[in-house]
Symmetry: C2
Subunit: 217 residues, 2 copies
């Protein structure tokens, strides 16, 4: 698939069929992740490809209570939105609830781990949440998502399970010095899967030379 077509049709697909992913397809998707850049080319991340039913159920059991407790605030938030946006957000909420209740059905859950031994976290000293460690992890996640889209596999980037990192580490035997950054369920879509996406126009996302200055004067 052509690069821009893959990028511009990559949706969050949360309703996934239990059908298995052929080994060669999964291997292409996982290999695409390994191509991503990392600081100093250290590649201080790993994927655990979780396919065992009891482990997928274990991840869902950790995920679901956090999702369910998140829903009421989200529903309240919907009432403050313009109608069109609220409708779109309600669909996202419903598919999120579907995922929370069916995550174990996904044939594969990709758990991204990382360690910080070789990551220089240049924003560690600032008085705001650090993000720079993610610069050597999430490019690989994005490669995986794009490759999944290329292979007609549904996928979605989730981070909710980081709240439960100690329990996830125990479940998947992750060593002390490794941490969790993303959980991506993969599987063939129940419904249409990927397609058109809704994003802000470039004029709202990109400035020229100074923050807030229009790109096209």
């Amino acid at each position: 698939m052509e690069l821009y077509e893959a990028m511009s049709t990559l949706r969050a697909v949360r309703r996934l069929r239990a059908d298995p992913i052929p080994a060669d397809v999964l291997e292409r998707v996982l290999t695409a992740a390994t191509w991503a850049p990392t600081g100093g080319n250290h590649q201080s991340w790993r994927i655990i490809s979780v396919t065992a039913p009891e482990l997928k159920q274990g991840l869902q059991d950790l995920y679901r209570p956090h999702w369910d407790s998140y829903v009421p605030a989200y529903e309240k938030h919907l009432t403050d939105m313009p109608a069109a946006q609220a409708e779109q957000s309600r669909r996202a909420l419903e598919s999120g609830t579907y995922l929370a209740h069916h995550m174990f059905e996904a044939p594969v859950i990709c758990v991204f781990c990382f360690n910080t031994d070789n990551i220089t976290i240049t924003d560690a000293g600032l008085s705001r949440p650090s993000v720079v460690g993610g610069g050597s992890i999430y490019p690989a996640v994005q490669n995986l998502l794009l490759a999944a889209r290329n292979e007609q596999l549904g996928c979605v980037l989730t981070t909710l399970l980081c709240i439960e990192e100690p329990a996830v580490k125990a479940l998947l035997q992750i060593p002390e010095e490794w941490h969790t950054a993303a959980f991506v369920p993969l599987g063939y879509p129940v419904k249409g899967g990927h397609g058109s996406i809704s994003r802000k126009p470039i004029e709202k996302m990109v400035y020229s030379n100074h923050f807030g200055a229009p790109l096209k004067p």
Copy 2:
């Protein structure tokens, strides 16, 4: 360009020509960034496309001392490496030094900003560096890099200037509640540009069900 070809030939290209980037090419690259997924589709990031010579010089003046102070430790590190790896790392070091001394020549420096108002940082309470905020920023950076590769533009993801965030914010008039996550110089390559990359094989990067368990038994 086909997706896997773009991903598997995306290199860190640090020697960039001063030649301008045609407006339509730059717009395609910036638009590709906007397609990336973000938590709740909030897109709480922005790019400042820095093209003004005095601002690019200002960014370089902030960058260069940090790079120069980093070089001696890196050179010492090289002496501990196997010869082939040391040679590769020395080339990366040399191109990094080139960038530190020539960054202002790049026709565009893309400065990625973010705010955390709508980002749920699920790993904020853990006793290790937070990365999850990056999950709504670096997928966009990776899209931009892949699009640059598609357009034959050299590019490299750098985060060193986050150390100088207060000075960068003053230079580019970034409001208090916005922060910096990545700086990507863009320009046509001086030398070969993109091409083959060196990455660990999938067997070293991906495990099956438990951390450390081989993907292919």
